[in-house]
Amino acid sequence: MGKTLAEKIWADHIVSSNPGEPDLLYIDLHLIHEVTSPQAFDGLRLAGRKVRRPDLTIATEDHNVPTQNINLPIADPVSKLQVDTLRANCAEFGVRIHSLGDAEQGIVHVVGPQLGITQPGMTIVCGDSHTSTHGAFGALAFGIGTSEVEHVLATQTLPLLRPKTMAINVEGTLQPGVTSKDIILAVIAEIGTGGGQGFVLEYRGSAIRALSMEGRMTVCNMSIEAGARAGLIAPDQTTFDYVHEKPHAPEGADWDAALAYWSTLHSDADAVFDKEIFINAEELAPFVTWGTNPGQGLPLSANVPNPADIADLEERGAAERALTYMGLVAGTPLKSIKVDTVFLGSCTNGRIEDLRAAAQVLEGKKISPSLRMLVVPGSARVRLQAEQEGLDKVFIDAGAEWRNAGCSMCLGMNPDQLAPQERSASTSNRNFEGRQGKGGRTHLVSPLVAAATALRGTLSSPADL
């Protein structure tokens, strides 16, 4: 019997395997940020241990760094302490770090791919659940807890139980204005926020193959919102071309050897998945969430659902609570919902392509005076590139705020937060209660919908302009 892609990568990283015990897997790359690493480094220090492979480890500052006045000291003392601690730990243990002000600083899941240290066939971990993003390269990538961070720092391995595999087949051509964000929101609405639990998701089919690397990252990024720890896509020419131009791409004979290996990284024709689902790409439309979990989404042309129509009692209750929290009335057309803040950014949609897509919609126009728009590039390098292309001018001329790189309003750990009852259209990945600020109301959308919404003031797609 053939193997799935996830099984191949797993098998290639087993250091030791004994019946009745988790497999010990080798970790090719460990990404670190300021929030989940301090106790792990402290654990090493207390035990007198070293970082086993500083050359397979990299750190950046993203979760709570400010996106304005980044040359000033960080005002919030807890954030400052975490950032200072990360810097000191990296210096002490010899770990590469990209700090605020550095061209490679940014959201950890944007930085890895842009440096070319995210490559096919790797195992990649980080103390952050959206590590699944790197699965877009055909890598097995997942988030870990602080004690596991310490384990990887000390041993470059992790004891892990083998996951099940699920194929998500998306076939057909997307309609104009429909993006990778709409694919993944539709997948989550289909399988539910717990549907992927215990599985590695493999996204397949012609609609997935047609996506750019950035689009693929958006899809894999939100695997965790479907309950899966990891999602992946088989590498192909699009992947190889993307990696080839990056600073840490293999060179010369190494490139040839890498390419030969990467070309074997796909699920075999006779591989059996534990579960399969099918989605018709032709039928997808711009999607938006109306509730407080990422599974509560609908096409933009729909109305706010009526909880009374939901048969499942638990889901009905969740929908009722969500509508109360979101301040929405059943039957309201989604397109008539007024928004106060548009957030373009995050590890889901803060890459150069996302900024280009939004800028194209905004070019030569003004955002609605009734709202504010924050544009937060995923990394300092994305910001630089956008400025070279003149995108910053487009955003500023349209009336948006052009910020520095970081997680920003995706989780509101820094000063970028929603006020209570403030409503956002956000290109990020989580619409949980209070995620973007206490009492804040989040609608998850694609960059195209974010830009069109900024122009019209209500949830909109470019086709509505």
Binding site: V15, L29, D42, L46, D55, S147, T155, T157
Partner: protein, 199 residues
Amino acid sequence: MEKFIKHTGTVLPLRRSNVDTDQIIPAVYLKRVTKSGFEDGLFGAWRNDPEFVLNKPEFAGATVLVAGADFGTGSSREHAVWALQNYGFKVVISSRFADIFRGNSQKAGLLTVVLPQESVEAIWAAVEADPKLAVSVDLESKTVVYGVTSVSFAIDDYTRWRLMEGLDDIGLTLKKLDEVSAFEAERANFKPKTLPIRS
């Protein structure tokens, strides 16, 4: 993690049951960036009371905590274990522990010993009569010994072995270092490295 074979020390008799993790370490103390330094927050809400047993000079330097039933209930915070260890405790004895607390303590190398409530009461009475009474907790023979009294306790073989060998999860993996090195020797050259920095 230090090996635990036998520990001898004096006792802090904590005559309270249902001591939950919020009482062991209140949430306001959780903002630290270290696993150490939590001793200041240990039993934070009770520390201001001069009558609280931890503040009594005759029990200073105790390393064995003997508490009432249902010790460590509440949240899963590992900080509760760190706080006890940071303060200097090596062993906690109670007639019943919360599962998560017990799991966390065994991972971190804090020995939790379950004794019948009569034995707990007997130890309380003995150390209140003589605060300098030395108590030995022996993992090898699975006994708690003080004066002429010896009480045996049960512990599963795997945990006992791990504690006696001083192995946390990382320690266990470090035992397989030869296999890790062998794997590394076979790793493909083309795999990326973060160092030296390329741009």
